[in-house]
């Protein structure tokens, strides 16, 4: 097991590479340190949905108590007394999550996204659901289907991977922004649908 290069305690599960003026730098860290140091770089493995969500979560953490533009997109979740994540819906906290590897409710998937997403990426073939949908009658609204948007994201992701492989980071970043926009569309759409 590779240890995190920041805390030297946990397993390094995030592996990043950055290129500065032709010089390659790599950093191997754990998810906690990544979250606390708000490290988001042009990381090769992570330039995918998992990383997007991870990025989302570090923003979420950063936006605690601040009035950032993102606050509508990334609502601030309550934190535990020690500052760690806790689900406001069911009370599931970091300790419970770590101890069991399970989640307490559907909402936990959003709350624990920072720790969850890379784990999900490592245990599954992909990071986006492409299987059966809830039957049509169950969908909350009939607007442009989230499924179409999701497929668009999946396509963009493939494109993005290709750019990263070719080390075309500018293009990759542009696509990453596109994906974020679509993702935000889905998120806000879901919220509106709920109310």
């Amino acid at each position: 097991m590779m240890l995190c290069e920041i805390c030297h305690k946990n397993e390094a599960t995030i592996h990043m590479q950055e290129i500065h003026g032709g010089e390659k730098k790599s950093l191997n860290i754990c998810s906690e340190c990544a979250a606390s140091h708000k490290i988001v770089g042009s990381d090769v493995d992570g330039l995918n949905l998992a990383e997007m969500l991870y990025d989302f979560s570090s923003k979420m953490l950063a936006s605690q108590g601040k009035n950032s533009d993102d606050s509508a997109l990334f609502p601030s979740f309550p934190l535990n007394v020690d500052g760690s994540l806790i689900c406001g819906e069911c009370g599931w906290d970091m300790e419970a999550f770590r101890g069991t590897g399970r989640l307490g409710c559907a909402k936990c998937y959003e709350v624990f996204a920072p720790l969850l997403q890379e784990a999900i990426a490592s245990m599954h073939k992909g990071v986006v659901h492409v299987g059966k949908e809830l039957s049509l009658s169950k969908k909350r609204s009939g607007r442009t289907s989230k499924r179409d948007l999701r497929f668009e994201i999946a396509l963009l992701e493939a494109e993005l991977e290709e750019h990263v492989r070719r080390e075309e980071y500018e293009e990759a970043a542009a696509i990453r922004d596109k994906i974020k926009t679509i993702q935000a569309k889905i998120k806000t759409g879901r919220k509106r649908g709920k109310n």
Partner: protein, 354 residues
């Protein structure tokens, strides 16, 4: 009353074993399960008793109203004895986990033991179907229809990115685990099981023992199932699994013909000794019984033993399990007593079968 339901089950042959035809001699059974949760309630692990009970009530009502199960039977885990719980586990209708937290935990079962729903296991609902033989697409059609019916009456937790949300992230997405139980005695006899396990693992599939994780290679029976539930459609997962199973079955067939061709005496000796042990032992452990039954089953499959019917052998794999032994004996048995009762059941059933 609940105990009566288990009595009725025990009186019948195991559904997923009963009909297996001559082509099913290597693939014993196919199982698919879907994990589903209700959006508005915490998952069972974080739910208090009141929540568990209202989830159970809601699910039972919805399943009944959906008509997804024919003449459904409801078995509440709080109401049944340890032995009855064990019987359900041995028939693969419930998991051990369902018994560990019995409040609000229930099994909903159709009359034929082929479709069922576990309520308040790791997830609020675990839909399951088991069929004899290799029947992935048939099983998928059945469980997909059951899922459609049940979901019309319930508000499932579903995320457009992550699919069906499950208590454990290993199940998120399709929530589907499909597994096929295989009998691979020739691969075991020729020492190929480890290679097989490693090869299958490389393809992203899991190999486990007869009764799930950690049950080893008992009776040369293993289950091959999908690991990943996200990023691939149900159909693609099943196609991949089917392709691998078909290959494994072919390897087993080849190993069988090779054994017949080149080591017939060794094969006859292994089968004959196993048959003799089963027919004449007065005390036999579960492990020895399962391994001997495996050899006998191979002998029947290859036509070396003609006096016994394959169905009777299949049934014995379940009847020699501890809970079935105690259920049929009508009392709790010590380990030593179980070995004796097991031997007695084997003697009488094999004699009757001849």
């Amino acid at each position: 009353m609940n105990s009566g339901q288990v009595d009725k089950l025990v009186a019948k042959r195991v559904g997923w074993l009963a009909d297996c035809g001559p082509d099913d001699d290597i693939s014993i059974s196919t199982r698919i399960r879907l994990a589903r949760n209700l959006l508005d309630f915490p998952f069972p692990i974080q739910a208090d008793e009141a929540v568990l009970k209202s989830v159970a009530l809601g699910v039972k009502t919805a399943v009944r109203d959906s008509g997804a199960l024919k003449s459904p039977v409801v078995i509440e885990m709080e109401d049944i004895s340890d032995v009855d719980g064990g019987v359900l586990v041995e028939r693969r209708l419930i998991s051990g986990e369902l018994l560990q937290r019995p409040v609000g935990a229930a099994l909903l079962l159709d009359g034929e033991e082929s479709l069922s729903v576990m309520v308040n296991e790791e997830d609020h609902l675990r839909l399951q179907t088991i069929r004899p033989g290799l029947a992935l697409s048939e099983a998928w059609n059945a469980i997909n229809e059951m899922d459609d019916r049940i979901s019309s009456g319930l508000n499932f937790a579903f995320d457009p990115f992550l699919g069906f949300l499950t208590s454990c992230p290993t199940n998120v997405g399709t929530g589907m685990r499909a597994s096929v139980m295989l009998h691979l005695p020739a691969l075991a006899l020729t020492g190929h099981m480890d290679t097989l396990t490693q090869g299958v693992a490389k393809l992203g599939l899991a190999v486990r023992g007869m009764f799930g994780e950690g049950t080893g290679n008992l009776g040369n029976i293993c289950q091959i199932s999908n690991q990943s539930t996200l990023g691939e459609s149900e159909e693609d997962i099943l196609k991949r699994l089917n392709a691998v199973i078909t290959q494994v079955v072919n390897h087993e067939k080849n190993a069988r013909s090779k054994l017949l061709e080149t080591r017939e005496n060794f094969l006859l000796d292994s089968v004959g000794r196993a048959y003799g042990t089963l027919k004449y032992a007065y005390s036999i452990s579960s492990q020895e019984a399962l391994n001997s039954l495996s050899m006998l089953r191979l002998g029947v499959d290859l036509g070396l033993v003609k006096s016994v019917d394959i169905h009777d052998v299949n049934e014995l794999f379940i009847l020699v399990q501890p809970a079935h032994l105690q259920k049929n004996a009508g009392k709790i048995l010590s380990s030593k007593e179980r070995d004796e009762v097991r031997a007695s059941i084997l003697r009488s059933n094999l004699r009757r079968a001849e």
